[in-house]
Amino acid sequence: MSGLIITPRRLSGTTANWTMGASLHSALSTETNIIANWLDELRRPSSASVTPTTEGQSLERRVFDALADAKVSTSKVAMHLERDLRDRLFRQLDSLHETDQWEEDDEPLNHASFQTFLKAILTIRPARRPGLGLSHTGNLIAAWTTARDRLTIEFLPNDRVSWVLARYDDTDEPARFAGQTNVSELVEGLAPHRPDHWFSHASKSHEPSQ
C-alpha cells in the first residue's frame, strides 16, 4: 500500500487546479498542450464553484456575497453538522448582517475567518452554542458566558484563533488568560482552563442561555 502522508505543509492549490506544466504552456508542443487541455476538460469545476460576477462593490453586495460564501462553505461540511446547529448558525449570520445597524466602515464576514470557525466548531463540538459577533474587520467572534465567566474566541484567517477568557472563581477580581494559536491547537490551549465550564450544558444552570 502506498498510503497518503498527511502533511501540515500547504500544497499548491488543490488537485482540481493542477494542470500539466501550467507555467510551461508556451514551451510545450501543440500536441502536449492538447493533451493537457483535454485532461483539464475532464476535471470540470462544479456548479457550486460558479461564482457570481462582482460588478459593483456596494455594502449590500458585499454583505450578500459574504453570506452566500459562508452558506456554501457550511454546505461543504453539512454532513457533519446537526441540522439545528446549521439553522441556528444561519439565523445568527443573517442577523449579524442586518446592515441598518452597521457603522460605515464595518466589514461583512471574512470568508477565511469563517472557514477557521467551521474547523474549530467541528472539532470542539460544544453542546452550548455560542453567541456570535463580528469584529470591525469581519472576523467572526464567538462568546460563551457562564455566570460572570466569559470565554471569547476570535477566528482569524489562515486557521489562526485568538482567545481570551475571564474566570471569577468566587472572587471579585477575575483571572484572565489569553492566547493565539493555530486552530488545530485550540483544544490543547484551552484544556488547562477547563473549557467544559463554557461548552457543556452542565454549566448552563449557572447562566441564562444565550
Binding site: S2, I5, T7, T15, S47, V50, T53, F64, S75, V183
Partner: protein, 249 residues
Amino acid sequence: MSEQPYKQPPITEAVIELRFATAIEADDITKVSAALKPLYPLQQPIRGIEVRLNVPPPGQQGVTAAHETHGSRLSTEDQTQIVLAWPAQFVFSQLAPYPGWDVFFERFCRDWAAWKRTLGYRKITRIGVRYINRIDIPATAPIIEHEEYLNIYPHMPTELQSLMAYSVVAQLPLPDIGCILTLNSSSAPSQLLGHAAFIVDQDIGKDDDPPQSDEEIYALLNQIRVKKNEVFEACITPRARELFKPCQV
C-alpha cells in the same frame, strides 16, 4: 420511495445538467429567472468567459478568440439548492446536506416543468448527472492508507510510495444505458481538522441522441441514478461505508 442508504451521505454536490442545441436570448434568461423567483429568491448574474489562444510557430500571427456568455445563478436562502440558467444549459444543483434522490428528482421535475412552461421546447444535446462525494477519513496515524477506503486510486511502482496528493481521471462507456462515465478521484484539502479527504466525482452523461420527451428524460435519469449508485459502491470499501453510517446494517 427509494431508500437513503446512508445517514450521512458524503455527497457534497449533486447536479443534473441539460444542454441545448441553440442558445436562448438574455431576455429568455430573465423570463425563466422570474418564473423561478418564488422558489429561488436569491438571484445573481453570472458570466462565463471562454478564451481560445492559438500559439503559432515563429513568424506567424496567433489567433485569440474570446467568447463571453451571461447567465443567472438562482438559489435558496440557505444556498443549498441552486439553478444555473445559461444560454445553452440548464444546471440544477443540490449542495449538502443531500436530501435523497426522491426529493432531488422531484425538485428537478418541478423546475424543468417551469423552465419549459416559460421557454417552450428546445432540442436537448446532452443530459448529464454528476455526483461529487468527499470522503473524510479520520487521520489517526501520520499515513492514511487510502486503499483501505477506496477502490480507485493511482497504482504506483514500489519505488514511489507515500503520496502527498493525487488525482486520477478515467472515462468509460456504460453501454447498458448508452452513457459515458467520467470518473475523477483525488485527494483533497480536508475541511475538518485531523482528517484526510478524498474525492469521488462521477459524471454520467448521454451525448449521443439524448431523449427529448419528459417521460424519456425522467426514465434516463432514473437509470443513471441506479448506475451512479453502483459506480459509487464499486469505488469504496466496507470501511468507507462505515463512515457514512449505513441506514441498514
